[in-house]
Symmetry: C2
Subunit: 244 residues, 2 copies
């Protein structure tokens, strides 16, 4: 499994993904699920993937132009005129890869499934955030739904629903994602450290901070340990059931 | 979907279940998922169900002896010599109902699936808590795993994992389940109010409190509204990401 979240706030975009992949409980590996393309001053494109690793790696390879001879290679996502066109390009690539994997011609065969969160900004437009389905179609975030999750989404959703605020700072939004990931990590073995973090400030057209967060990261430890205590105190602050 | 939790604490057993059933998103009904059999002074047996409603209702009917003529009816769960035998009886009934529903002879056909949480105490033994699978087999809670959930379990699990304490009071444990249910209700439409609550005090051999909790229940409202604020405060109490 996997857990990835993309969050749109007024100040920009925040992304976090785990790195665990598993083929059965006894075959666990670490793979980066966050991919970044940057043309400083012009665009930043971030793509996070969940699902079949062969599918997602193949999609990334095709997007990087690895199917072409070395001298002709360029990342197609650096040439699209808009984020919408970027989402279309990725959707078509996903559809193509899944179709080619499934000899029966099924287009959303669950064995080869993959979902993606795409975010970024291209000069001339605002930051945009998309969720791309295995069928190749996609949806865009709106003010009503300012975040997307893929993978093992349920454990970490309640805290986002309750504390997200579009005006929050990057420092707060990273804290929110850390708590959401920590709740998921504590509940599901198929999501694992290290985490990849990236945030992008609106109209900056370059990556803000990109960091890998490992088990011994002091901030992660502070949040993980602090959140248990903070939750217990929050719980204590509510009145007990009066009829017991 | 459904959400049910059974919790074993030193003082006894606590049960909570929602009441929403749905056949598709446009066919929603309210059904009790908590069933109680009591022989005051001798035994209390509580059964909560998740899954196909035709299956779970049929299991309850058979357990109540409704297959027999009126004058011979008695609830078989009131005659078993131990909770273990009660779990076996229910497991066999589940297997029988699912087998009879599936003309192909499949025993765990997902269309007719159902899972159960069984808890109670029979004089001469301690309170016991079981989880019964659609295949008819079952597991019993231990000190390491003092609670069982069935249905839409993920949203409400982190808070139980972090705040459960076997020495907690009934008043605290009801609060814990209210928070867990509220997180689930806020995230998934297939789980709905009203809730059924029951707790049973060790060695009392009669139902402690049994209550239906509706939308306008003042304690539920206090917890639901208070938890949002308490979570936000807990979140604020953690340090923000220092590198942003």
């Amino acid at each position: 499994m996997t857990y990835c979240v993309g969050l749109k706030i007024d100040r920009g975009l925040v992304f976090m993904s785990d790195t665990r992949t598993n083929a059965g409980i006894d075959s666990i590996s670490t793979f980066r699920k966050m991919h970044v393309w940057e043309k400083p001053g012009e665009r930043v494109v971030v793509l996070m993937s969940a699902g079949n690793l062969a599918t997602t790696q193949n999609v990334i390879s095709l997007l990087n132009g690895r199917a072409k001879p070395l001298e002709q290679r360029s990342a197609a996502v650096l040439d699209t005129p808009s984020m919408y066109q970027t989402a279309r390009l990725i959707g078509e690539t996903v559809r193509e890869v899944i179709r080619d994997s499934a000899p029966t011609g099924q287009r959303a065969d669950s064995y080869f499934n993959a979902s993606f969160i795409l975010g970024g900004q291209i000069r001339g437009s605002v930051p945009r955030l998309f969720m791309i389905y295995p069928e190749g179609n996609f949806i865009e975030s709106t003010d009503d739904t300012p975040f997307f999750q893929v993978g093992e989404t349920k454990y970490g959703k309640p805290i986002i629903v309750r504390t997200y605020d579009r005006e929050m700072s990057f420092a707060e939004s990273v804290k929110l994602l850390m708590v959401s990931f920590d709740s998921t990590l504590k509940s599901n073995l198929s999501v694992g450290l290290p985490l990849d973090l990236l945030y992008y400030g609106k109209d900056e057209f370059r990556v803000g901070v990109q960091r890998r967060i490992a088990q011994d990261d002091p901030y992660y430890r502070t949040v993980s340990e602090g959140w248990s205590d903070a939750l217990k105190n929050a719980f204590k602050s509510l009145p007990d059931f009066p009829e017991a």
